[in-house]
C-alpha cells in the first residue's frame, strides 16, 4: 500500500492572517507524522517561521506538539494553534 493521505488543515488567528486562508487540504505520504505535516506547512508559508516557537497543533481536536511523531490518518483535521487569548 503506497497510499497518499489527505489531511484537512485549519489556520486560526495570527496563523490565518499569515497564511491568508482559514483552511485547506494537503496530501501527505503514507507514513507521515504530525511533525511532517507541520514542517510542510512551514515550507509552504515562510512567514509562519516567526510564529513557529509559539505554535502548537491540534489533531482531531486534541492538543499535539509540533514535534509529535504521531502518524496522521487520511481525513485527519489538523489545526495550527497560535497562543490563545480566550476569557
Amino acid at each position: 500500500r503506497d497510499m497518499v493521505k489527505e489531511v484537512k488543515l485549519l489556520y486560526f488567528a495570527s496563523a490565518k492572517e499569515v497564511c491568508g486562508k482559514d483552511s485547506e487540504c494537503m496530501n501527505m505520504d503514507d507514513n507521515a507524522t504530525a511533525k511532517d505535516v507541520f514542517l510542510k506547512v512551514l515550507e509552504n508559508y515562510k512567514d509562519l517561521e516567526q510564529l513557529k516557537d509559539s505554535l502548537v497543533l491540534a489533531v482531531n481536536l486534541e492538543y499535539t506538539s509540533i514535534d509529535s511523531s504521531r502518524p496522521v490518518q487520511d481525513g485527519d483535521e489538523i489545526a495550527i494553534i497560535p497562543p490563545i487569548s480566550g476569557g
Binding site: F12, A13, S14, A58, L61, I81, P83, I84, G86, G87
Partner: protein, 152 residues
C-alpha cells in the same frame, strides 16, 4: 453532559450549560443558569473587555474560536472540575465575534451546597479556560490591531 448527582437532597439530573454565542451575555441570569432550590451557593466570574491596554485606547474587540474543539475542551474541563469539587450545576459561556468595550466576553457560574466548592471551582475554571481553550482575542486600536496572548 447529563449526570445524576449523588446528593440525596438534590436528585434531579443536571444539565451543564456550555455555550458559544455572538449575543451579549449581559441579559443572562446567573441564578436561572445554575440556581437550584437545593443549592445554597452560586459563585461566578465574568470577564469584561477593557478600554485600554498599556495606555492605548481599545476601540473594539473580536473573538475567534475553534468551535468544536472549544466545546470538547470545556466539557473536559467540567468533567475534571466535577472530579475535584462536589457541585450542582456548571455554566460556561463565551462570547464570539465583535464584543464592545465594557461588555462581558466570558461568564462562568457554578452552584453547590457548600460555598467553598462553588468559589474554588469557578476560580479554577477561569484559570483553566484561559490556559487551554482555543479562543483568540484581537484588540483593535485607533492605529492598528493585535492578537492577544494570555499571560498565564
Amino acid at each position: 453532559n447529563t449526570r445524576t448527582v449523588s446528593d440525596p437532597d438534590c436528585p434531579d439530573n443536571i444539565h451543564d450549560v456550555v455555550q458559544l454565542t455572538t449575543d451579549p451575555l449581559e441579559k443572562l441570569n446567573l441564578l436561572s443558569l445554575v440556581g437550584d432550590d437545593c443549592a445554597g451557593a452560586v459563585a461566578s466570574f465574568i470577564g469584561t473587555t477593557r478600554d485600554h491596554f498599556h495606555g492605548k485606547k481599545v476601540v473594539r474587540l473580536e473573538y475567534e474560536a475553534y468551535i468544536p474543539m472549544v466545546k470538547t475542551e470545556i466539557r473536559k474541563l467540567i468533567s475534571i472540575l466535577r472530579s475535584k469539587w462536589e457541585v450542582h450545576k456548571v455554566a460556561i459561556i463565551h462570547r464570539l465575534g465583535l464584543c464592545p468595550v465594557g461588555q462581558a466576553s466570558v461568564m462562568i457560574a457554578v452552584s453547590s451546597a457548600h460555598r467553598r466548592n462553588a468559589l474554588e471551582a469557578v476560580h479554577w475554571a477561569i484559570d483553566e479556560l484561559k490556559a487551554r481553550v482555543p479562543i483568540w482575542k484581537r484588540e483593535v486600536y485607533e492605529d492598528g490591531s493585535c492578537w492577544k496572548e494570555n499571560a498565564e
